[in-house]
């Protein structure tokens, strides 16, 4: 019941002293790198120095040179151009997964958290069921049985990510729901939909954003993993995971052939995570003391 809050507040709420720069150097680097990757995903085939799929059987297994920055593979294709063009599958799939899971997961999570009761029960039991499935294994089996395919893997990963999003958002909504500002608008007579979308959701937004970035990075790595196993992007596609797999035998002749795509993959995932963290902090500062 009512625990009477004391009338006197602490003089100052002092958080940990942290850098107040709007754009730290690291974040600027991350932004530049991300912009580069996105640019390559859209215009990759236009800027690539060579046609990524052009086979040059006279020039197979070239060492890195000015003409072929990362060398060429067993079919004589320019690896650097393939890395540039590979940005497309690296960005498109994870973007669909992260945004799709965010939309559906948030809808379910906000609804379950705000409404509670039976709706909450049904949604959460569904999530529990999904948690019981070993996500990666299910993806491998299903994609394997159905004969592979990039977009099948993407759809599957999205469905498997939704329950995690839903549960996380539900938790944050549960924390907001008993706050007086929510109760006040309930008493005013706002419709539940208005409260969920207009009042509660903006307050859990930092979590949503950070989580979407994390999901992006995670699905990038997972999708590449599936491609590596031959279950994602089809044979011949310029895809980072696939390239690591195709060129892994060249490791000792031309390390850049496999490590180049691997490095770009790890760098992209890390960059996205860092950006997500930074955005989370920026957004949580909204509405807090100056």
């Amino acid at each position: 019941m009512s625990v009477d809050i004391n009338p006197v507040r602490p003089e100052l709420s002092l958080g940990v002293t942290r850098s107040r720069r709007r754009f730290p150097v690291l974040i600027i680097l991350c932004l530049i790198f991300t912009a580069l990757v996105v640019f390559c995903a859209i215009f990759g085939s236009l800027v690539a120095p060579h046609d990524p799929n052009e086979q040059d059987l006279l020039n197979t297994l070239q060492q890195p040179s000015w003409d072929h920055l990362f060398g060429t593979d067993t079919l004589g294709r320019d690896i650097f151009s393939r890395v540039i063009v590979g940005a497309r599958t690296a960005v498109a799939g994870p973007l669909v997964i992260a945004l799709g899971a965010m939309l559906i997961g948030n809808t379910l999570g906000v609804f379950a958290g705000y409404r509670g009761g039976r709706a909450d029960f049904v949604i959460m039991r569904f999530c529990d069921l999904m948690f019981a499935l070993p996500a990666l294994l299910v993806a491998i089996v299903v994609v394997g049985v159905l004969g592979g395919g990039y977009w099948l893997a993407v759809t599957l990963l999205m469905i498997l990510t939704i329950p995690y999003d839903a549960r996380l958002i539900r938790g944050s909504v549960l924390e907001q729901r008993p706050r007086p500002y929510v109760e006040a608008v309930r008493v005013l007579g706002l419709k539940p939909r208005q409260i969920m979308v207009g009042q509660v959701w903006p307050n859990v937004l930092p979590v949503v954003v950070a989580n979407t970035f994390l999901n992006f990075a995670f699905s990038l790595v997972t999708l590449s993993g599936l491609s590596y196993l031959g279950l994602g992007a089809g044979p011949g596609t310029a895809d980072w995971g696939r390239m690591i797999s195709d060129n892994r035998n060249l490791l000792f002749q031309n390390p850049v052939a496999a490590l180049g795509p691997a490095f770009v993959l790890v760098a992209t995932a890390t960059t996205v995570n860092l950006l997500g963290d930074w955005l989370y902090e920026r957004l949580s500062d909204r509405g807090r003391a100056r």
Partner: protein, 622 residues
């Protein structure tokens, strides 16, 4: 009482540094504490009083720094290394915090909190049996006679009991100075008296020095020998407690005294200090209070206003005191003679009728009857009070009426509509009920959505009342003006507002739907004293203007006296007394009401020593 000095603070300055920006919290104050003396540091939020206390024992939060001298037994505490300070804390300087709910480690039994620090003469830990005996003895000293408490966990105890354990832990190593930072603020009024009496009696019997940090002048008068009035990081007045009560020598102290609603009569209009406490840096180089003072002249703004000694033990920072002293006296006299206004009930037909309402909360195995058959009535245009302590069910009752809780049984009729269960209402009825009854919550810091602007919050409220209304922004501006805020505030977010301003916005939001009953759940208890009076006056004005009814839920009898005509006293989920406010508070017939009335702090000598204060009631089961 000026014995040998125990602790001397000179020119203490505290500032915070965040992200390269330095902000002053306390700008150079002097304090002195003699052996066996009690001093009070009185100030509102933002005055720097808690930071001062923390600086004395080296517990400032990260990013906050103190300079100056704190002399204790020939050593400067500010220069001691952390290791040496750690030894002093507990053994020489004890500390009692404000919040009994977080002060104790939840996974340690109460006995552990006390015996953990105990050592024998050679500095070794005591044996098991000895520790237990000592813990039980210490608990008995703070009035806990049940030895089993030592084995219990903090969550098994009530707030008052926890505070007692906290005090026992602070006293475990027999410190010479006890610093109590708002030790009773988070507690119920009746418990507050017990805890204050306990601290006082322990202090007297041990001859400790006691530093009381409080926002409540009444508490300071009852407890302290001398009072330091702190405002925006500067001392405005230093004087013996009795002398301040007799005649304050700074306009701010006078203002604080006059803003305090009297517990024994009802005033037509409360004295209030306009504005809010400024940041120390904003008022540097002039009298900190000048912007809110009605006697401000050029000399107040000309330069810094250090304390000036007026007489033995009395000092004030007011540069004009010699000129305005007679005027201040007159103002005080007028205030004390301001006539009691009879609370006239203008009740006609009943707007809200609650009959035999019950609400049972079931958590796991436990079953709590928050409301055990309560019947109340609020007439059209009437102002009704609901008084009781935490756990009395007063808040639950208010929440049931606005539909935030669904009662277990009983009926609630609002303007002829049966509204015990809002989910059973038709859409039209629900909308009608929502428009009739609105609520203002206690904590203005969480009752506004932090990410929305004031304007958008009010706009939404206006649109709920009148979907598709035109000229909404004009209405928002009107609402803001109604509650005494400039219309420009619409563009601001809640963080940019002070507590009192936020509460005004919360009231404006409730007014947007033009309710006929406004339920106010402790609407001023989270506010500073000087702001409290502003809000109470606002309530009075609004009622005059709109003719609304109020259901005023509060634990503060002095507040309720100013604002309601009829009062219900709630105790453990049941109404124990009801009637016109003057009768109930003036001549209480129920024992519990009497106890509530007695628990209003008074400075007379027996308030803290009377038998019932020291003993309290038998601690209840939980």
């Amino acid at each position: 009482m000026t014995g040998e000095p125990l602790l001397t603070v000179s020119n203490l300055r505290i500032h915070s540094r965040i992200g390269g920006k330095s902000r002053t919290i306390v700008s150079g104050i002097d304090l002195a504490l003699a052996r066996g003396e009690t001093i009070g540091i009185v100030g509102e939020s933002g005055s720097g009083k808690s930071m001062t206390a923390r600086a004395l024992i080296g517990l400032l939060p990260a990013g906050v720094f103190a300079e100056g001298h704190v002399e204790y037994e020939g050593r400067d505490l500010l220069e001691l290394p952390e290791r040496a300070l750690r030894k002093l804390r507990g053994s020489e300087l004890g500390l009692v915090f404000q919040d009994p709910f977080t002060m104790l480690n939840p996974i340690l039994r109460c006995g552990r909190h006390i015996d953990e620090q105990l050592r024998d003469e050679r500095g070794r830990r005591l044996g098991r049996a000895e520790r237990r005996n000592e813990a039980v003895r210490r608990l008995a000293e703070v009035g806990i006679r049940d030895a089993g408490v030592a084995e219990r966990y903090p969550f098994e105890l009530s707030g008052g009991m926890r505070q007692r354990v906290g005090i026992a832990a602070a006293l475990a190593r027999d410190p010479k100075i006890l610093i109590a930072d708002e030790p009773s603020t988070a507690l119920d009024v009746t418990t507050q008296r017990e805890i204050l009496a306990l601290i006082k009696s322990v202090q007297v019997s041990r001859g400790m020095g006691l530093i009381m940090i409080t926002h409540d002048l009444r508490v300071a008068f009852a407890m302290c020998d001398r009072i330091y009035v702190l405002y925006a990081g500067s001392l405005l007045e230093v004087a013996p407690a009795a002398a301040v009560e007799e005649e304050p020598l700074h306009p701010y102290t006078l203002g604080l005294l006059l803003s305090e609603p009297p517990g024994d009569r009802r005033l037509a209009h409360l004295h209030s200090i306009e504005g809010a406490v400024p940041a120390p840096d904003d008022v540097a180089g002039r009298c900190p209070f000048s912007a809110r003072c009605s006697w401000t002249a050029d000399e107040c703004l000309a330069g810094p206003t250090p304390l000036r000694s007026l007489a033995e033990g009395r000092a004030t920072a007011c540069v004009r005191i010699d000129k305005i002293r007679p005027e201040m006296r007159v103002e005080r006299l007028e205030a004390s003679q301001r006539a009691h206004v009879e609370a006239v009930s203008g009740a006609s037909s009943a707007l809200v009728h609650v009959a035999d309402l019950r609400k049972t909360f079931i958590t796991g195995q436990r079953q709590v009857d928050a409301l055990a058959g309560v019947s109340i009535e609020v007439g059209e245009g009437e102002s009704v009070g609901l008084v009781g302590e935490s756990g009395s069910g007063k808040t639950t009752l208010g929440r049931c009426i606005v539909g935030l809780e669904t009662p277990t049984s009983g009926t609630i009729t609002i303007d002829g509509i049966e509204a015990a269960d809002y989910t059973q209402l038709s859409t039209r009825d629900r909308a009608a009920v929502r428009r009739s009854v609105q609520i203002v919550f206690q904590d203005p810091y969480s009752s506004l959505n932090p990410v929305r602007t004031i304007g958008s919050a009010l706009q939404q409220a206006v649109l709920v009342a009148e979907p598709g209304a035109r000229g909404v922004s004009g209405q928002v501006a009107d609402l803001l003006r109604t509650v005494g805020l400039p219309p420009e505030y619409a563009a601001r977010k809640p963080v940019a507002l002070s507590g009192g301003e936020r509460q005004r916005v919360a009231i404006a939001r409730a007014l947007a739907v033009k309710p006929r009953l406004l339920i106010c759940d402790e609407p001023v208890s989270a506010l500073d004293v000087s702001v409290q009076a502003q809000i109470l006056n606002l309530f009075a004005t609004l009622r005059h203007e709109f003719g609304m009814s109020y259901l005023f839920i509060t634990h503060d009898l002095a507040v309720v006296r100013q604002i309601v005509e009829r009062v219900y006293v709630l105790y453990r989920g049941a109404v124990v007394e009801a009637g016109p406010v003057d009768t109930v508070l003036g001549r209480p017939s129920h024992e519990y009401t009497q106890k509530l009335v007695d628990s209003i702090p008074r400075s007379d000598s027996e308030w803290l020593t009377a038998q019932q204060a020291v003993m309290g009631v038998a601690p209840d089961g939980d």
